[in-house]
Assembly symmetry: C2
Homo-oligomer: 321 residues x 2
C-alpha cells in the first residue's frame, strides 16, 4: 500500500516491557447490571485510572523512553489541548527532560492547569491548526526538541497497544475488542495487539456519527478527514493520520458510528451502575453495543475506557468551590 | 454497662462466611496523588462498588440469611429513605421473600425508583419519625414481617463488619481504620472486626460537625441525639442507637468531626484523582485526615468508602436526558 513502516506485534510486546515500570496495569471491571441489560459479557479496561487519567500516557512514555540519549536531552514537543499534552508533560517529567507544549489560547483552564502542573513549558497560540503547527515548528527548530505526534507516530501507536495487550492477556477468551477512534492511535495499537495475540478476535472501532471520518475513510479506502466536527465526545474530534489509516484498513474488522444521545446514555449507564467517572469518548464503544445489540449478544467483549477527565464544576456538590 | 447482647469477632467471621456468596469482595484502591498530597498510605475499600452501591447490602443480606424458615416466609420490613431500604429490598428479592418498606412521601424520586426496582412493597407516610414508626408497626402487626432496624440490630452490625474484615485481611499491617458514623452500624461492625483481627489497630469514626451526636455521645458517655441536623453528608443524619453506642464506647479510639467545606473538598479530591463516584458521606473520613493531617502522616490507613449513590442529573452531560 505505501512505504510507511508500521508497528508489529513484537513492537507492542517491547513497548509493554519498556513502559510497565511507569504505567499502571489498570484494573478490568465488569458490571452485572450492564451485562443483564445488554445480554453481554463486557470487560472494561479502566484507562480512566491510568496516569493523567487516560490511555495517552502509554504512548507518550513509550515515545520518550524510545529516544536516544541526545534526543532525550533536547526534550519533546507537541501541539495539543487534550490528554496527549498532559501525558507528554508527565512523561517528560518522569524522564527528567523538557516538554514544550503548544496550546490554543482558548483551551479550557482545567487543561492548561493540568499541563502546567507537570512542569511543561507552554506556548499559547491562536486556535487554528495552522497557527499551532507554525508555532510548534518554530519551537522545534529553536530547541531541537523531538515532535511527538499525538497518534500518527510509530512509538505512540505501539504504546497505546499495550492496553489491549494487558486486557486480552487477562481475558484470553475475548471474542471482540471495541475501542473509540479519533486520530486512530488507540484503535491501531489495539488491532495489532489483539490480532497478534489471537487472530480470531474481532477488532472494532466506534466513533460519533458527527465525527465519522474513520468510518468514511475505512469504507471508501481513502483518507476523508472530518471538517470541524461537533460532538460531545471531545477526545474524538481529530481525523485519522496516514499511519493509523493504513493500520486500521489492514487490521480492523469494522467501524461503528453512534448517535450523540446514545453516547450520553451509555456514559450515564457507566457512571450510575459502575460508579466510575469516564469522559464521553470512553462511552462510545458501549453506545455502539447498545445501538447494535444483536451483534454482541452472549459475546465476551473487551472495551477500553479511554479516559476519565471531565469538568465536574457544574455538579451541585462542587459548583460553589 | 447494660443487658444488650452485642456481636463478637466470631459473629463477624460467621457473617462473612454467610454472605460472601452474595456480596462483592469489593476492590481496595490507592491513589498516589492523594497519598503525596497528605503524606499518607491510604487504602480505600470501595463499598461504592457493592451491590445497591453501598455497604448497607452486607447488613441487610446478613439479617435476612439469619432468619428462621418461618420468619423468612413472612418477610422483612423497615422504614428508611436511604441505602438500607434498597439493600433490604434487594436482599429480600435474593432470598425470595417480601420486603415491606415504609418511605416518607417526600423521599427523592431516585430513591423511590431504586427500591421499587427491587420489587419491594412500598408504603408512603408523612415524613415525621412518629408517622414512620406507626406505619411500620401496623405493617409488622398485619404481616408478621420481621423489622430489620437499619443499624441498631445485631445481624446488621455483624454484616457491616465484614467490609473491614475483608480490608484488613488484604492489608494486614493497617495502622488505622477510619469510617463515617451516622447511626453507627458501620463503625460498630468495623471496630469489632478490626480489634478482633489486631487489637493494636486504631479505629476512628468521622462525622460532620453539623451532625455530631456520635462525638457528643462518645465524649459524654451518654446518648445525645442530634436534633434535625443539616449536612451535605445525607447518609449521616441519624443518631446512634443503644447497641451501636455501647459498642462504640467500648471499642472505638476516637471520633473526629469535620466541616462541610472539607467534606466537599475531600469528595472532589476522590472524584478527580481516583475517577470514582462516591456519595458525600463516604468523603467524611478523608476530610478528617485532611483536617488532622499531622496525626495521620506516614500511617497505613484503611478507609471504607461507604457508598456511591448520588444524583447526577444536574451535571451538564446528563441534565437534558
Amino acid at each position: 500500500m505505501s512505504n510507511i513502516i508500521t508497528p508489529t506485534f513484537k513492537d507492542i510486546i517491547n513497548s509493554y516491557e519498556r513502559i510497565k515500570r511507569y504505567s499502571h496495569n489498570t484494573p478490568v471491571l465488569t458490571s452485572k447490571s450492564i451485562n443483564n441489560i445488554l445480554n453481554t459479557n463486557i470487560y472494561f479496561k479502566c484507562e480512566n485510572f491510568q496516569k493523567v487519567g487516560a490511555f495517552k500516557f502509554r504512548g507518550a512514555i513509550n515515545s520518550i523512553l524510545s529516544l536516544s540519549k541526545d534526543e532525550l536531552q533536547k526534550g519533546v514537543a507537541t501541539h495539543s489541548s487534550g490528554n496527549h499534552a498532559a501525558a507528554l508533560a508527565l512523561s517528560a517529567k518522569i524522564a527528567n527532560t523538557k516538554a514544550y507544549i503548544v496550546m490554543p489560547k482558548n483551551a479550557p483552564d482545567i487543561k492548561k492547569k493540568a499541563v502546567k502542573s507537570y512542569g511543561a513549558i507552554i506556548t499559547y497560540c491562536e486556535p487554528a491548526l495552522e497557527a499551532r503547527e507554525t508555532t510548534l515548528n518554530k519551537i522545534v527548530k529553536k530547541t531541537g526538541a523531538t515532535f511527538i505526534h499525538p497518534y500518527n507516530n510509530f512509538n505512540v501507536i505501539s504504546g497505546q497497544g499495550t492496553a489491549a495487550y494487558e486486557l486480552i492477556n487477562k481475558i484470553p477468551d475475548t471474542d471482540i475488542v471495541i475501542v473509540p477512534v479519533g486520530g486512530g492511535g488507540l484503535l491501531s495499537g489495539t488491532a495489532i495487539a489483539a490480532k497478534g495475540l489471537n487472530k480470531n478476535i474481532k477488532v472494532f472501532g466506534a466513533e460519533p456519527k458527527n465525527a465519522d471520518d474513520a468510518y468514511q475513510s475505512f469504507i471508501h479506502k481513502k483518507l476523508i478527514p472530518s471538517d470541524n466536527p461537533i460532538t460531545i465526545a471531545d477526545g474524538l474530534l481529530t481525523s485519522l493520520g496516514t499511519m493509523t489509516f493504513e493500520i486500521i484498513c489492514k487490521n480492523v474488522d469494522n467501524i461503528f458510528t453512534v448517535k450523540e444521545d446514545t453516547i450520553i446514555k451509555a456514559m450515564k449507564l457507566i457512571w450510575e451502575r459502575m460508579k466510575i467517572i469516564i469522559e464521553p469518548s470512553s462511552a462510545v464503544p458501549l453506545a455502539a453495543i447498545i445501538e447494535n445489540n444483536v451483534l454482541f449478544k452472549n459475546k465476551k467483549i473487551g472495551i477500553i475506557l479511554s479516559g476519565g477527565n471531565v469538568d465536574l464544576s457544574d455538579l451541585h456538590y462542587f459548583n460553589n468551590l
